[in-house]
């Protein structure tokens, strides 16, 4: 249960940074935090109490594997999500670099053209 609470808190802290903070770098950090929160949530969905990691490298695990290991599917999905998170962060940071080169500031309020 603590994992769900922690992941929700991470998502909310990230969203708070995105909504309230004025510094673009802090907004990017918020996006990254939200990403981590979602990953923690998905991983903890696959957790089964008292089981080991889904790596069958001892003979003991070979028979009746599904009663001895946790669910590997959420872990595989999160592996995908982490890589996509890196890609998103990289593109976001390059946009920040571009914005900074135009106006010399990281304050989001200075970019009035972005408002509508």
């Amino acid at each position: 249960m603590a994992f769900f609470v922690a992941s929700i808190l991470l998502i909310l802290i990230g969203l708070y940074a995105v909504l309230v903070k004025r510094n673009i770098m802090k907004i990017v950090i918020g996006l990254s935090l939200m990403d981590t929160g979602v990953n923690v949530l998905i991983i903890s969905l696959g957790f089964i109490r008292g089981r080991t990691a889904p790596i069958v490298n001892v003979k003991d695990l070979l028979v009746n594997t599904s009663s001895k290991v946790v669910d590997p599917l959420p872990q595989a999905l999160v592996l995908t999500a982490i890589v996509i998170g890196v890609a998103v962060t990289a593109v976001a940071l390059s946009i920040v670099m571009l914005m900074y080169s135009k106006k010399n500031t990281l304050e989001i309020d200075e970019y009035k053209e972005l408002k509508w």
Binding site: I55, L73, A76, M97
Partner: protein, 230 residues
Amino acid sequence: MRKWLALAFLILLGFFLAKITSAFPFGVESWGVSKHYVDKGIEENRGSNLVTSIVVNYRGFDTLGEVTVLFLAATALAFLLATCRCRRRYERWEASLIVKAASETLYPLLILFGAYIFIHGHLTPGGGFQGGTVIASAVMLMLLAHFTFHPNHKALSTLEGLAGMSFVLIGFAGLIWGGSFLANNIIPLGQWNRLFSAGVIPLIYVAVGFKVGFELSGLITDMMKTIKEE
């Protein structure tokens, strides 16, 4: 004002998220399709690491899409930074001898470690993405410590393209000789828990490892080298 509105929204959202997640079972068995992956994974793929078995084989097509997304991000980044007139606004000074010597010592070791991680992706925790990231971190270390370190960008993108292409070619080989795209029966599966086992899974993960390593190295180089000295 904006802060309080945001806080109220977040509290509401947090309440609903808590409400939804409290309905999820935690720490108990709730197998779906993955029961098949776990029980039949060794028999069908011979890869000890079931996560790798899922990522590369059962959901290999998904991973191909993921690699494509990474490529797309690198392309978008290069496109964005090509128009950037980024200039450095502070003086950058030479790193100390300790940092330089240590980074030169660590550079080959880190690359070796990354290669170890993606070669053993079907046996131990880790795999192509993790190993590739370790290799990229080695390149980043060198870029931070040395002004004069210029990775060959053309070579990086060529090798990255070749690695990506070999992933697709292995998939097509499965389509021609195995019956389906990325099928894992075109080469012998081998014995469980050996380095040469699990059919095409290690081959694909080595390709992914090279691709991610070169991709992220190129990405970091792009970001650091577009900044012009004043």
